[in-house]
């Protein structure tokens, strides 16, 4: 049985002009020990999806789902008390900016032992011993003396290591890393990715890596979910996705990467922008920017369906042999 099962998860934020739908009917499963990459541009709903899973969606956000099951336990009907027992122990999360995720008023040692004392009911001494071992595991030199350090005395890379130590303290079954290396320098980013990868392998924990950096997921994840405007548009193995993307959005996103060069030094671009809350298209959400949009796709939203060993939300997947005929039959849209 899958470790995590989410179906039809939606998150809405009420605003003066009606509800803003940040996450729209997101469904996915995650196996024990799997590494999943979630990519998308800003506003694609990738972070809010994970916050909903953690029970951290800020008020007045509304979370609805058909199912949300983690390790056989239903997360929907759970009391706040029970949820707190789960988060920080079995599901943990690290965030983009490590320097603001740590409490500046307490020492590293205090913040690290807290999780162990609360969740594992360890006494002070064994928590301390355990914490030193953890810091050594995440590659912090001279761990014992670091316990007394305050967050401002650490560099960005060191702070992120402390966050990771805190996240793995109680042997979680799932670690969610939200842009864990975006605030770090390239050489330090490589160190942190290496650390996450080795910890994941040693402990067999599942890892969800949220990022906008295609290169990072390409090197880390086996499977990748691409999100656009709150929806999953493609879900596929990393190898398949980067070699032969099926969704026009994924293909356009990859073509826009500077490393892919483009033709005559010009990069491929995606015209327009992600739809805002007030200009959501009627049909496919990507249709106003899609090079292959038709009158049909502008009217009828595609469902997320199984396709080529993965899933896709598109009427005309790029690998479909009947694609050209289908587009012709549905009347290509004249203008974008």
């Amino acid at each position: 049985m899958a470790l995590l099962h989410i179906s039809a998860l939606s998150v809405e934020f009420p605003t003066a002009n009606g509800a803003l739908r940040a996450v729209d009917q997101v469904s996915f499963e995650l196996e024990e020990g799997e590494v999943l990459g979630v990519v998308g541009e800003s506003g694609s709903g990738k972070s809010v999806t994970m916050l909903a899973l953690m029970g951290l969606v800020p008020i007045p956000g509304r979370v609805r789902a058909e199912r949300m099951v983690f390790g056989g336990r239903d997360l929907l009907g759970i009391s706040d008390r029970e949820r707190r027992r789960l988060t920080g122990k079995d599901i943990t999360m690290i965030f983009q900016d490590p320097t603001t995720s740590l409490n500046p008023c307490f020492t590293i040692g205090f913040q690290l032992t807290e999780a162990l004392r609360v969740h594992e009911r360890m006494d002070h001494k064994s928590a301390r011993r355990h914490t030193i071992a953890l810091l050594e595991q995440v590659g912090i030199p001279d761990a014992e003396s670091r316990l007394k350090a305050f967050p401002h005395q650490l560099s960005g890379g060191m702070s992120q290591r402390v966050m990771i130590a805190m996240a793995i303290a109680c042997n979680p079954r799932l670690l969610i890393a939200d842009e864990p290396t975006t605030a770090l320098d390239v050489t330090v980013q490589a160190q942190i990715l290496e650390l996450l990868q080795s910890l994941q392998r040693e402990r067999g924990m599942a890892l969800i890596l949220i990022t906008h950096n295609m290169g990072v997921v390409a090197e880390m994840a086996r499977r990748i979910i691409v999100m656009y405007a709150g929806q999953i548009v493609e879900d596929r193995s990393a190898a398949g996705l980067f070699d032969a993307p099926e969704h026009p959005y994924t293909a356009a996103l990859l073509a826009a990467l500077p490393e892919r060069g483009g033709i005559d030094g010009r990069l491929a671009t995606i015209p327009g922008m992600i739809p805002g809350p007030y200009d959501r298209p009627m049909g496919c959400l990507f249709s106003p920017r899609c090079a292959y949009a038709t009158e049909f796709s502008r009217r009828v939203p595609p469902e997320l369906r199984a396709w080529q060993g993965g899933r896709i939300r598109c009427h005309y997947p790029l690998g479909d042999p009947q694609r050209a005929a289908k587009i012709a039959a549905d009347q290509p849209a004249l203008e974008r």
Partner: protein, 326 residues
């Protein structure tokens, strides 16, 4: 042709206070960097945080004066400025900053933002200024009706277009672009990179492009300067450096950059983090993290010299070249 910029041995230090009673420390941001940019060329300055890349840009952009060193902009001495040249010099170099949310005045309409440099620096009539601003807007892909809108009505990518239009409206010879696309989404990054390339082709403007993203640099730059702790460890034509990096730091940077294409390079993970620029290591700046470090590196600062078509500051550059060729 006269280079747009010629800088020699630029040095900049800052006094950093460390508490009430302790003496101020000297932070060496840039420690003797020389560079040249020809018209119509792009020099990318690559480095991590604290490498001094922004300080270098600010000195060349005339925002701050170097402590020592020589700087010529378009053939004119920019440090001992002859009387009357200051205003002309400022017109030759303009800036585009990283954060388009912070670099545009929220209380001014786009028209006012674009015409202000013309009021200060030219004798154009009001009508000509408006015409020039509207022409510039069209060239960066903004619509005429945007003229009377405020910055908050635009997305990040559009704001960066406005910032680029403002930088180019005085027809500068050089634009210093400090991380101009790192705050933007991938699809928008591509649009702005294309725009910068188009404008360079049309106007012959040169760019000093400051970036930490090597995939972007690999795409846009003609020449590359790799900065580490205020020292140019390797500098030369992009293809030369990207094909065969000779400085271990450049090698590490290239190997650490995650990419989606091709065969995966073995990741050379350098240990630790850059030391503080307040007390840099005495020998080679990279010696504390270099995988090939020797005693000589820790004591003796390597000379910058030409090896295989680029400038490099590593004692063992020639050796690396030999092992690579064999």
């Amino acid at each position: 042709m006269t280079p747009v910029v010629r800088a020699r041995d630029l040095v900049q230090t800052y006094a950093v206070r460390r508490g009430l009673l302790r003496a101020a420390a000297k932070l060496q941001a840039v420690r003797g960097v020389s560079l040249e940019i020809a018209p119509g060329q792009t020099l990318a300055v690559v480095g991590e945080s604290g490498s001094g890349k922004s300080t270098l840009g600010r000195m060349i952009g005339l925002i701050e004066k170097p402590l020592t060193g020589e700087l010529e902009l378009d053939g004119a001495d920019a440090i001992k400025r002859a009387s009357g040249t200051a205003a002309r010099l400022r017109r030759t170099v303009q800036f585009v900053f990283q954060n388009p949310y912070g670099s545009l005045n929220p209380r001014k309409k786009i028209g006012a933002i674009l015409t202000e440099p013309l009021i200060i620096n030219t004798d154009l009539t009001r009508k000509d200024r408006i015409a020039k601003a509207q022409d510039m807007m069209a060239r960066v892909g903004l619509r005429p009706e945007h003229y009377t809108r405020y910055p908050h009505m635009f997305s990040g990518g559009q704001r960066q277009r406005i910032a680029i239009a403002r930088a180019l409206i005085l027809d500068p010879k050089l634009v210093v672009a400090d991380e101009p696309i790192s705050a933007l989404d991938v699809s928008i990054q591509a649009q702005v990179l294309n725009l910068l390339a188009d404008l360079q082709r049309d106007t012959g403007v040169a760019y000093l492009f400051i970036s930490h993203d090597l995939t972007v640099v690999g795409h846009i730059a003609h020449n590359v300067l790799v900065l580490y702790l205020g020292v140019a460890v390797e500098q030369g034509p992009k293809t030369v450096i990207f094909d065969r990096p000779l400085h271990p730091y450049t090698q590490a940077l290239l190997a650490s950059t995650p990419v989606t294409t091709g065969t995966k390079r073995p990741r050379i993970v350098v240990k630790g983090e850059p030391p503080s620029p307040i007390n840099p290591p005495p020998g080679c700046v990279f010696s504390t993290r270099c995988p090939y470090v020797t005693d000589r590196c820790r004591l003796e600062r390597p000379a910058t010299r030409v090896v295989a078509g680029r400038l490099v500051a590593c004692h063992y550059a020639e050796k690396f070249l030999q092992t690579m060729s064999s």
